[in-house]
Symmetry: C2
Subunit: 191 residues, 2 copies
């Protein structure tokens, strides 16, 4: 299902400028940036913006699947780690480091995403990887047996808020918080 006609040259250029502007602004200020700001930074009128991306979800769908794919790579690396616990914890740190770098990513994982279909799909795939990491770490007897995927979701909520509140004033605070939490996940503390 290739686009029916190729885009005109100026249109293609503007589309890229819009995408770049949106990517940057989402990253800096989160998903609530007004459409007008995106248009202004792209040096394009608001009408043109809507011609390309009729809704904010259209932006999300164009931007975030790529970002989430980057997390897949992280998942691969973690799964390749010979020590399942080390791999699991490394994944958490890498995941939340991305949150800290990209306010928009943080937002999109924190709120329950409406139905940005492409985004949802990427999340499901990511969740699969995480489930595997969890299982491996449990089987190796290092992660407490009652830790579930649901707990992972909850942790994501928690971390997203911690990062939002602290990343500017105390950029390492979230690592500290995560370390406390992770300490409680060792099997010795389990049931």
């Amino acid at each position: 299902m290739a686009s029916s006609r190729p885009l005109r040259a100026d249109a293609a250029r503007n589309r890229e400028k819009l995408l770049a502007a949106a990517t940057q602004l989402f990253g800096e200020r989160g998903l609530d940036v007004p459409m007008e700001h995106i248009a202004r930074r792209a040096e394009v009128s608001i009408g043109t913006l809507y011609a390309h991306f009729p809704t904010k979800e259209a932006f999300f769908g164009a931007i975030f699947p790529e970002r989430l794919a980057a997390l897949d790579a992280l998942g691969e690396k973690a799964r390749a780690d010979p020590d399942p616990w080390h791999g699991f914890v490394g994944y958490l740190e890498g995941l939340f480091a991305q949150h800290a770098k990209d306010r928009g990513l943080n937002d999109i994982l924190a709120r329950q995403v409406p139905q940005a279909s492409a985004v949802i799909e990427s999340c499901h795939r990511g969740a699969g990887h995480v489930a595997e990491l969890i299982d491996r770490a449990k089987l190796s007897g290092q992660l407490r047996a009652d830790f579930t995927m649901t707990d992972m979701t909850t942790l994501t909520w928690a971390m997203s808020q911690v990062i939002r509140e602290s990343v500017d004033s105390a950029p390492d605070e979230w690592r500290r918080f995560l370390a406390f939490y992770v300490a409680g996940l060792r099997a010795e503390n389990g049931p």
Copy 2:
């Protein structure tokens, strides 16, 4: 500094109705409820609302110090616990149970409160109690030595988000999350 003149009867009645409406709506929907909604629920015009409470902070100042005082009682109880660790953990559970019951309380502790002076003051007093609980639990050798008041603030951020996201769909999820975190705070896991 008693009010210069006593309120007229209708004014006093309306003030109470406004306070009741605001308390209820803040509790249900958080601090972002529009002023218009409060006025409507109080069966009072928007103009009257502003006559009594010229700003949202005025509402906060009238409502939350009382709520936060309730937390003081909790602090007292915790400090009276013969087991410092048990007291500390009990305080956390009680504190966040309040968050779960009162969306407005959750909001006001999650965001850095602008400068609702009366609210700020109550928070400082509460923080004092918490610091004491932390010290006691450290001295008894049960709480890891590197846990600080700052970590307590961070935990509050985390819990506020977890509660917001889960309290309706999974009312016990926050307890579970807290339990994992608290497990990591035992001195055995410390430095």
